[in-house]
Symmetry: C2
Subunit: 389 residues, 2 copies
């Protein structure tokens, strides 16, 4: 496989584009997607006519051929266009195909983006679940419940405290203060997080990602083409995806087994381990997910996640800065945009373009994106992407 | 790139799975997808545990991670799973990624399927169009209108008759009489087709594909792995996809320019031309589409499509049998299933397994799948796949 690089990254500010008082002006999927793609093309200094293929991340809310609709406005046409859906891992699934196609010589220069509207849409904002797959939902196993059960078991097994979970929210909200693209730029104290409305014990409202809209895009090139455009290409060191499986966690409900498997494979492929990773954009949809991922990615031993956050090891000055963007907790989680939004933040971090939230001397970054509920209450897909400069 | 083969193909009968009187029993997307995948695995004699990746075709009606949901029932988990949407070209877009991944050595043995419910679903059967892309629909430019305008211009420019368009329906309905997987198995006379309710002049009701549900699946393998399973691998000779573009047709509204470009590229890549193709599963959503495709694929000169069908050259005993399955006209067009359903028919044809509708000595087959309305009233994507035995 050839070397592959990200040579440009852009996004729109995440938030509620529903035009309601205090919110952002009303926008469609196309408008948000076009905004992010134009920003990425500009960042890469690539003319849109040079793009050889488009890979879009869209959920059912976008309905039909979002890649084509956005490309049309950009003046891009007559080339292969693909549209991916993979629940909350949607746009990293699209990126994965783009990465493989460039690595394998199918294309040299491509556009990847994801766009999502959750706050305002034809169906009234619902990410409608399929008729035949509602059993888990019918019995109450919705996403916060899944992570609350995991958290409770973690507390029981390892003595993790509700304060330690809440510290993830405090840290990520603090990070987002310096991110103009974040849906929220507001700090909260540990007490405020703990005392916010209970959603599912121990997860309070301020430990849940918000509903929001947005879009993010990256320009992906072969190493040879990348050199024509930039002296700061961000190398794609490796990418792995794993669907959930019944036995991945081996009955240990405090481990997301598909994540440990995807990480093991990624570290083997790349020869890079957690000790080398400076910055991680992690899928902190609910705070227990970030805490348990410290362990599943090998940043600390199983059961030590609570100590890891409490000791500041996932913050600036620690071992690896988790979610300098603010993460899904505060930057936001417009589903189909999230995976590529993680790559955007990492690209900017590795190029040293993040201003007040810059992770100093960041050389290696990891994006961790998970989506859906699959077999054995594993996610439907875990996608890891390692970048380096 | 390595040689790639289809080693198994299966589908469920297409039709209305809504449980209404005279219709098929009620089924979900998952049930239809599982039925098709099990049939393909059985046809290939492949154990599901050997599958290395799943590529699903789904439209918004399936909502979330159809690939994972179907794989879960099949007992397939812990591997990469992708879900593609590309309007009526949805499942050939999924197949395209699978083909490239196997050709490039990413995987050796994968499952591709598409499943669609149109007659019965949460949203009441509508394939909802995106909020920001409804201008063409608002001004009346829906699919039958597009093909009716094309037909009218073809009549004006080349003297094509309404009878010649109707002959496509007569031929394809006749073909479907021998296809137990077709939604309809009923013959119509030319008079019946012409006298059926007018939808958009010159297109009558019996020249429109029906609303329906269904699923289709193929097992794709590297040539080396294919040899372990079968002595009759169906080679994937080549695959091209082209998004629509403003200037593809160069102002000629009787040509679908993205199709002529995709065909030119395919013939160049493969060294195989229309004179070598024995059987074609063509996207005959409305009868004028098949007639104009004879020309766009190079089976006859521009303007000669009417004569081509009238002389029986697209029927058994002619130059190339178009839609021996009955095509979208009569086999049916459950959107996300259609592209792979074309590959299923071609696989069976090239292996000589089609019984009364068998094209004798069929060695080379072509699938032609188009989806959406893109720039310049070109389709959003044209996908061509050439198979051979």
């Amino acid at each position: 496989m050839r070397e592959v690089a990200i040579i440009g990254a852009g996004m729109v500010r995440l938030g509620k584009y529903d035009g309601k008082p205090g919110h952002l002006p009303y926008k469609t999927h196309e408008e948000l997607g076009v905004g992010a793609c134009r920003a990425a093309l500009k960042h890469a200094q690539v003319n849109h006519r040079k793009i050889e293929a488009v890979y879009a991340g869209q959920t059912a809310t976008a309905q039909v051929q979002l890649g084509q609709r956005v490309a049309d406005v950009l003046g891009i046409s007559g080339i292969p266009m693909y549209n991916h859906e993979n629940a909350c891992a949607t746009s990293l699934a699209a990126f994965r195909q783009a990465y493989l196609d460039v690595a394998n010589g199918v294309h040299d220069l491509v556009l990847v983006f994801g766009a999502e509207i959750m706050s305002s849409m034809l169906s009234g904002g619902a990410i409608v679940l399929p008729e035949g797959a509602m059993f888990l939902q019918d019995v109450g196993m919705i996403m916060p419940v899944f992570f609350a059960l995991l958290a409770k078991r973690h507390m029981e097994e390892y003595g993790t405290t509700k304060e330690q979970f809440a510290m993830v929210s405090v840290k990520n909200h603090k990070h987002s203060m310096a991110n103009p693209y974040a849906q929220y730029q507001r700090e909260f104290t540990l007490e405020e997080v703990l005392n916010s409305r209970m959603v599912c014990d121990p997860i309070t409202l301020l430990q849940c990602c918000p509903t929001g809209d947005g879009a993010a895009a990256v320009i992906v090139a072969s190493a040879a083409v990348a050199r024509q455009y930039t002296t700061k290409p961000v190398r794609v060191v490796g990418s792995t995806v794993h669907g959930g499986e019944y036995k991945a966690s081996k009955g240990d409900f405090t481990t997301i087994g598909s994540c440990t498997k995807a990480a093991k494979e990624l570290y083997e492929i790349t020869g890079v381990g957690p000790e080398d990773i400076d910055v991680c954009e992690q899928h902190d949809c609910f705070t227990p997910h970030e805490l348990v991922t410290y362990e599943d990615l090998g940043f600390c031993e199983k059961g030590e996640g609570g100590r890891f956050i409490e000791d500041g090891l996932s913050d600036f000055g620690g071992k690896c800065v988790f979610n300098p963007s603010g993460g899904l907790q505060s930057k936001g989680h417009p589903i189909a945009a999230t995976g590529v939004a993680q790559l955007v933040e990492l690209t900017w971090q590795l190029r040293g373009e993040c201003g007040a939230r810059q992770v100093e001397r960041a050389k290696v970054g990891l994006a961790h994106n998970g989506g859906g509920i699959g077999p054995g209450l594993e996610p439907g897909l875990i996608s890891l992407t390692m970048l380096a400069i």
